[in-house]
């Protein structure tokens, strides 16, 4: 796409709906399925991905003219691994409770397809400014998608939304919690039905 000139506004909106990484591109499935049993870990995960995505996009965009084609993926993963280590150490130091809840899924951000995909599709082609906007929009789109799924699953599984020491009751008193929603099956089925719903909406629009 040589004649395609991305503008800041268009890039920003793309990540939220048009190219939402979870709902439209179906990328980064592992964290989407694994950490969405409750809202707080899902939000922490989204913010971690946002941080890593912004940093890696900036670095990749700055070194885009130096990259050799066959070493490209390796350079991307090494850049990402560096920032993921920073993020992991930060969470261990200041958010130990969240770090324990997320466990191995924080280091697994390294192999999250979204970040490598954005490095490849955007940051290695365009300048720093576009890359930052793209990273912010993709990161926010990812966080938004995780939070939507997490809210559905947590409400159905426990009837409340817990955030640290605060709890917000959502369901009525006689609500029977669906424990299965907090298990792997709940993750797969919620995401499957969400994708079906999104397909339905986009088909209606077009």
């Amino acid at each position: 796409m040589a004649d395609y000139k991305p503008t800041l506004g268009k890039t920003f909106l793309a990540g939220l709906w048009e190219e939402n990484p979870v709902f439209r591109l179906v990328l980064g499935m592992c964290p989407t399925l694994a950490v969405t049993a409750a809202v707080k870990p899902a939000f922490t995960m989204g913010m971690s991905v946002l941080f890593v995505l912004i940093c890696s996009n900036i670095v990749v965009s700055l070194m885009r003219n130096l990259l050799k084609p066959h070493l490209r993926i390796l350079m991307f993963t090494l850049t990402i691994a560096t920032f993921v280590t920073i993020c992991d150490l930060y969470l261990k130091a200041f958010q130990s409770e969240m770090s324990e809840a997320l466990g191995p899924y924080i280091p697994l951000i390294i192999v999250n397809c979204i970040i490598i995909c954005r490095a490849e599709a955007c940051a290695s082609k365009y300048g720093v400014l576009i890359s930052i906007v793209d990273a912010v929009s993709m990161g926010l789109g990812f966080t938004l998608a995780l939070c939507i799924i997490a809210v559905i699953r947590e409400v159905l599984a426990t009837g409340i939304i817990a955030w640290g020491s605060y709890t917000i009751p959502v369901m009525w008193k006689s609500f029977v919690p669906l424990t299965a929603m907090s298990m792997p099956i709940g993750a797969f089925i919620t995401l499957g039905l969400m994708l079906g719903l999104i397909n339905l909406i986009t088909k209606k629009q077009s």
């Binding site: 592992c30 792997p184 797969f188 499957g192």
Partner: protein, 202 residues
């Protein structure tokens, strides 16, 4: 000795069936949903992953145990670089497999196409390396058995899925659910079946 072999067998069964990386830890979901269209393709992918995961798991255990956690080198604080080391080892192992296949099995290499380099970013492999570290696996043989078992478990999961999807192609699925959504729902029902094994081995 008999006790030791029992431990190894239990570890193997546990990682293949009970703690299957795909069904309980959601690792390797991308190829699981993407490649599992045909059984032969799925089996090939599974074999490639098994080979890489065994190699990478063993190598990362060795590096982790003898270099990164070596008390004699503790003053340099090498522990923080573990993720970077893991991903380098995995990328190297994938490169090795790619070169080997291109030289000796060109037809298989052709049919893998883009998927082979993508094994580098397969979460199951990095996930296993991190789990070996987290579980505190103490000896080399057990690390090898666990890595190999993880690969076999992945192959089993992706082959079951491919078998179901070959039949699903003939089914009358609602239009909005075709493709990824119905695959995810099928995967959900599969995990339910595998939940029956939970708690069999402590």
């Amino acid at each position: 000795m008999a006790d030791y072999i029992t431990t190894l067998l239990l570890a193997f069964t546990s990682i293949v069936i009970i703690n299957n990386l795909v069904f309980t830890k959601f690792l390797g979901t991308c190829p699981y949903l993407g490649v599992s269209g045909r059984i032969d393709m799925a089996f090939g992918m599974g074999m490639a992953v098994t080979f890489v995961i065994t190699l990478a798991g063993t190598l990362t255990w060795l590096v982790d145990h003898y270099i990164l956690q070596n008390p004699a080198l503790a003053q340099y604080g090498l522990g923080v670089t573990n993720y970077i080391c893991y991903i380098l080892i995995i990328a190297g192992a994938v490169q090795l497999v790619e070169m080997y296949l291109r030289k000796f099995f060109p037809s298989l290499y052709e049919s893998f196409g883009i998927f082979l380099p993508l094994i580098t970013t397969n979460c199951a492999i990095l996930g296993l390396c991190i789990f070996l570290n987290l579980w505190g696996t103490e000896d080399l043989i057990k690390a090898i058995v666990l890595s190999f078992g993880a690969g076999i478990g992945f192959t089993m999961a992706i082959c079951i899925m491919a078998g179901i999807r070959e039949n699903l192609a003939l089914a009358d699925v609602p239009k909005a659910l075709r493709g990824a959504p119905i695959t995810l729902i099928t995967a959900g029902l599969l995990t339910l079946a595998f939940m029956g094994f939970a708690g069999m081995i402590k």
